[in-house]
Symmetry: C2
Subunit: 414 residues, 2 copies
């Protein structure tokens, strides 16, 4: 008998009918002899309803009370699922964050888990109960209710799996796994049987639609095998695994991530002196604007061009700051562009396979796409291109790197 | 500085707007220097919504999970009221039943309070917080969430007042106090400044619309001064007090209670032998039918007539049982009548004032009302009459006992 932690999100428990379907699935696992801990989110829409009430009362609701308020959403789901399991003859018991004792720090609305008391859970699992645990919530050391921030139910599931030394943590969602790229953009996108934690993290722009990044980091840190599956369809999903377990048959590239969330700001003709990067980006950071890609060209005639990207919604604010700074630095010109896309190839195979970057550039050049910025890490190559070429770029790269082949086949590069 | 426990029911916190009004009222008390513990119910309609969800899932919802589910309703109210107080510059902190530690037995959905841990509450009151406590809920010794049954928020308030040795427990509701009789029936009905616990209990049929009987019993047992007030209108309300504190100026009769909820079943011509009452009522009790008034006439020629009342909804069931029993007993006839009303005069003054009963009978006879049954206790006289005379009877008695005078005047009887 294996011990599984299963997590069902708000959409999966959004109606009584869906809760019944989840109960059917959980009951099947139970009859197969598995020990089960099921983590649930609030019914879809409920958290927003509660937040709406709070904002009717107070513009900036008291964080402690916000947590007291929204944590009720998950508690409702746990009770209803436990009832639905009971109706199917499956012994089940609900737990809220305080009852498990998911101990967190006291950072209300964005708390971090410190410790989980597994004694009571183990006793109830031994006694044959399916445990239905409220996701997203905990208590601080004084017994105040805390929440982990939105989407924190994934983190709850992973933390429970780590604490209980579960055999697998299964995240049920509305997709049947992690894909080589977004299937809505590329027909030939394939579900990956496995992906490493590092790749999953680098796939963030795509992966975050599937799994909370924080949960993936957590799972990697505690070596919790994590699997993404569809809530209402059967299938193996995608297993997120430690790299050490990978074999040589794995393809070089795991997938292609992309987004259109960013905007690019360029400072042209900056005097190339020590500290100039800090003088440009310091004020941006102080304004709490997150910077993603940063590129500084090689200096010519004592001046350089400096480009970085920010979230599109922050472009205007960032540009205003940079115009101020550019004046002080005596830069020649500042430009801003929000019609860009970022495309990233991700794969731990890059470490051992040369030529991925040149193959990527060659592919894009063959279809006439100009690369505006390039940024590389150990297992990722990102390029910034004109937004209008995003589909062409993703499809061409998906095909060039053999991602539309059966996923068991290895995609060798140049 | 006095310590007050205030309770606001579901209607009083039914909308964000009403929660704001409650916050205004609580804030005023706080500025007047009172220490405050505020007990709230779920927003009106919320408990029914949650119960509805449960019944969609399971015909007879698991009681443990029912408590987990419905207890969220009060928790939502506490958070919103704490936010509303905070917005007014009043330091406030919410508590659910588990956080206070309102320890109960494990009778889910109808638990009874065993103990309240007042240490943390006292510390927060000392620190200047208004404590906003979820009514109706507690935890058993294993940390399982329990509820006290519907309306249990009154009991929570009284129990907290007893544990904290509060100066007064104020129950805010949609009436401005306890009346001599129902003001909808008698224009001259007066609000009582005070009433004793015993009278309040005997007034149950009226009083239960104002206060949970269990809370009144609890308050009496622990000598907690209890006051009923209107949530949104100012006024002194009605103080429910220990009889020992009463003075001789109190009127004989506190009020007139009445109901039309009962039906009467009569067995005529029963052989008057020992054990006959048990043989008639035993099977009724075994069928879980509650019997209220019981009257057995003096025996003539070896046979007697036996009459009792039950709730109207149980009449048909009770009649069927009695017809069976009557056959076995050789009784002459069984009749059933659901067109009856019960009218009760209540007052601790009856103990020291003779003649209340005869005055009552005289008044009813003067307006031509026939009395079908009579039942008396130490502080109450009840009569059963034809339902169609209920208004005439209540108005005549209200006037005859001087209850439409100013409540400070004493109503002396014959």
């Amino acid at each position: 008998m294996s011990l599984l932690v299963q997590k069902f999100g708000g959409t999966s428990v959004g109606t009584v009918e869906k809760i019944e379907q989840v109960a059917d699935k959980v009951a099947r696992f139970r009859r197969d002899g598995h020990g089960l801990v099921v983590v649930v989110s609030a019914m879809a829409g409920e958290t927003n309803r509660l937040i709406g009430l709070a904002h009717e009362v107070q513009d900036q609701p008291l964080p402690r009370e916000m947590d007291v308020l929204v944590s009720t959403g998950e508690q409702v789901s746990t009770a209803l699922l436990a009832m639905a399991l009971n109706k199917r003859g499956v012994k089940a018991k609900s737990y809220n964050g305080s009852q498990v004792r998911i101990l967190t720090d006291d950072a209300h609305t964005k708390a971090r888990i410190r410790d989980i008391d597994d004694a009571r859970l183990h006793a109830d699992i031994e006694a044959g109960y399916v445990l239905v645990v409220a996701g997203f919530q905990g208590v601080d050391e004084h017994g105040n209710i805390t929440t982990l921030g939105r989407g924190g139910s994934d983190t709850t599931a992973v933390a429970l799996a780590a604490a209980l030394k579960a055999d697998e943590c299964q995240i049920y969602t509305d997709v049947d796994g992690v894909y080589t790229t977004d299937p809505r953009m590329v027909d030939g996108a394939k579900r990956l049987d496995t992906i490493t934690f590092e790749e999953m993290l680098e796939m963030a722009s795509m992966g975050s639609k599937v799994l909370q990044i924080r949960a993936v980091e957590f799972a990697g840190k505690y070596s919790v095998p994590l699997r993404v599956l569809h809530s209402f369809e059967d299938g193996p999903g995608t297993l997120i695994r430690l790299e050490e377990e990978s074999d040589m048959e794995n393809p070089t590239i795991a997938g292609i991530a992309f987004n259109r969330d960013e905007a690019k700001i360029t400072v042209l003709g900056v005097p190339d002196t020590p500290g100039v990067a800090y003088r440009i980006l310091g004020p941006v950071g102080e304004a709490n604007i997150e910077v993603d890609v940063i590129v500084q060209n090689v200096s010519e005639d004592g001046s350089t061009d400096f480009t970085f990207t920010v979230h599109r919604s922050e472009m205007d604010r960032a540009e205003a700051i940079i115009r101020q700074v550019a004046g002080e630095l005596g830069a020649r010109q500042v430009t801003a562009d929000n019609k860009i896309a970022k495309i990233s190839l991700v794969g731990v195979g890059m470490r051992s396979h040369a030529g991925v970057a040149s193959q990527m550039f060659k592919t894009l050049s063959e279809v006439g796409i100009n690369i505006q910025m390039i940024s590389t890490s150990e297992i990722k190559i990102s390029v910034i291109i004109d937004e209008k070429f995003i589909e062409l770029a993703v499809r061409s790269l998906h095909s060039a790197f053999g991602l539309d082949q059966e996923s068991s086949a290895s995609a060798e590069v140049s």
